[in-house]
Amino acid sequence: MTDPPWSLAASALAVIEAHGRTSYPEECCGFLVAPAAEVSRGVRRIREAIPTPNRATADRHRRYVIDPLELARVERAIAPSALLVGIYHSHPDHPAVPSEFDRERAWPWYTYLVLSVPQTGAPTFGAFEWDPTTHQFHPRRLRIEGGAPSDPPGGREDGEDNR
């Protein structure tokens, strides 16, 4: 495919993984942020992950809800130099692919990063985009940019289809 080379900073991934581990066995969620100037050129380099509280009031081991006011607040706080380009959330003990539940609630344009957090072992992630014409998620490759001290060896070069 001819997708532009989008990327995720290793430091942002480290934040997401830490958030996923500490929230286990509940789901965690947060925002993905990229520089606005690059986004306007069609390049999405996710530099930062901002955790936000899971507002789900039930089934928190398999549900997450983001406070819309919090989303609006973050969007304003990072503007105009950066844009909120996606959402991450974790699937404790479930694969790193969107569920049907995710699909029905998905928004266009956002990059959806799903982090699978097993009870033991390293988390894995998948990145996806929701197509508003087919109502389906499509995998989206994300290159990991920059090293991070917490990097486990190998096995997560990109986010394509962890099934």
Partner: protein
């Protein structure tokens, strides 16, 4: 300071692509509802992301007026004042695990509720339909109703093979198209209509004709093929490709007031070749364009095909395999004939020798689908005929169409002898030194030339492309039909 009544509407990043990339836009209105309506009116493509099919705000869209959730005010009726800020905010939620709705969204549940009530369909069946892939060959008289109902029923992927454009004479029966669509590619219009009817369905357009080169690859991607073709070469091609790829072929055909429907059962047969091992001689069976067809007839036949397709996908009921259903609209009578898988069938029988696709136009004795074998029948072009008719010794011009067609349009000076009466009225032509025969498209006239030549007439030619081409090439005032 803003002008009176102007309100700022903040657009979240996922929706900015529908408002030319703007982060906020300014519109006028007196309530939150009228403001959002004004936004949707200015950017129509944004509407489905804000409002559901019933016109109410979508459940996953939160609206804030100056940081306050409108659900705690008067919702859409909440009044606004100049300078207010309305924020459209995505309500983000999701999660892992057992899907709450077994694969159907709330909207789909509502859309298919009358199916879900049927124990034979239910949630499980509707899921099957959603995962199903059906290929329709032809999006004309038969394909229009079939595609429409399969899309409405929620068949997940619908492939369409079609290369024609919309013509005025199609609209009497091809209900996917409207007068506004004249001249547009059928495939483009059909995809638009089906997507509008059911956005949950993926329409896969395959432009260009089905050929021996592409048929097997194309059929491989589908669970069922529906034959809505109007010519023998393509009909044999669809049949052979379906048997070779092992998928059922839901067959329908129409002629004037009569229709036929059956299901060919893939590799196990029976197949179209069990029924008709050989095609009829070229031009013996006139097409709809020549013979006419009651506009409603393909509706009935196409919908019987749609029913059989759904039954196959759901695995319910008794499929029409091994039975040929005959429908006579004038008598309004259905009859049924048995179709057995022929033990001698060269394609699906136990001693089958045909392992691949062949050259179908050649097999059917035509150079192109529906065209007569031009090389053997002497013909004359409309432009040349115009000149010959002005000569001192013009040829005898013979019209072999039916009186109904004659009443619509005719070439001046012609004599009418319908093809069916030609043999017994051939005496009327005695003495003619040169004859030019015409019909509507050139099919019947080609047969008339062959017939007359066999009877000993010399100098017999037919008008290439028939009166239809005549009206295109030399006399645009001539009605086409």
């Amino acid at each position: 300071m803003m002008a009176t009544g102007t309100v700022r509407v903040e657009i979240p990043t996922p929706l900015r692509g529908w408002v030319d990339g703007q982060a906020a836009i300014e519109v006028e209105g007196s309530t939150v509802g009228t403001v959002l309506e004004a936004v949707a009116a200015r950017y129509p493509a944004l509407r489905p992301h804000l409002f559901g099919p019933t016109g109410a705000l979508r459940g996953f869209v939160s609206i804030y007026l100056n940081q306050e959730d409108i659900r705690y005010r008067e919702r859409e009726a909440t009044p606004v004042r100049p300078g207010d800020v309305i924020s459209i905010v995505p309500a983000i939620a999701g999660g892992a695990g057992e899907p709450a709705t077994v694969g159907l969204s709330r909207e789909e549940m509502q859309r298919y509720s009358r199916h879900l009530l049927l124990p034979e369909v239910g949630l499980r069946g509707q899921r099957k339909l959603k995962e199903a892939r059906v290929l329709l060959v032809g999006a004309g008289g038969l394909g229009s109703p079939t595609a429409t109902y399969l899309a409405a029923a929620g068949v997940g992927r619908i492939g369409l093979v079609e290369f024609d454009t919309v013509d005025l004479s199609n609209l009497q029966r091809q209900i996917l198209y409207t007068t506004e669509d004249l001249g547009r590619p059928k495939l483009e219009v059909a995809a638009e209509r089906l997507r509008a009817l059911n956005p949950e369905v993926t329409v896969e357009p395959h432009p260009g004709p089905l050929t021996s080169a592409n048929a097997l690859d194309l059929l491989k991607g589908y669970d069922v093929v529906v034959d809505g073709t109007d010519n023998f070469p393509t009909r044999y091609l669809v049949n052979d490709a379906a048997v070779l790829t092992g998928i059922p072929n839901v067959y329908g055909s129409i002629y004037r007031f009569e229709g036929q429907v059956t299901v060919f059962g893939g590799r196990a047969g029976p197949c179209y070749r069990c029924l008709y091992p050989e095609p009829p001689p070229p031009n013996l069976v006139p097409s709809c364009a020549e013979a006419g067809v009651l506009g409603v007839l393909p509706g009935v036949v196409g919908l019987l095909q749609a029913i059989e397709t759904l039954k196959l996908l759901l695995g319910v009921g008794e499929p029409l395999i091994g039975r040929l259903l005959l429908f006579d609209a004038l008598a309004l009578r259905f009859r049924e004939l048995q179709v057995r898988a022929s033990p001698d069938c060269d394609l699906c029988g136990p001693k089958a020798t045909q392992r691949g696709l062949i050259d179908y136009p050649e097999f059917c004795g035509v150079s192109a689908p529906g065209a007569p074998n031009a090389s053997e029948i002497p013909s004359i072009l409309p432009a040349e005929l115009v000149g010959r008719l002005r000569d001192r010794d013009p040829p005898l011009l013979l019209d072999v169409r039916e009186p109904e067609e004659w009443a619509i349009a005719r070439i001046e000076g012609a004599r009418l002898i319908p093809l069916g009466e030609l043999a017994e009225r051939v005496d009327e032509l005695t003495g003619a030194r040169e004859i030019v025969v015409y019909c509507k498209m050139g099919g019947r006239s080609a047969r008339a030339v062959a017939q007359l030549t066999e009877l000993g007439f010399r100098g017999v030619r037919h008008l290439d492309g028939g009166i239809d081409r005549w009206s295109r090439d030399v006399d645009p005032s001539m009605p086409r039909y």
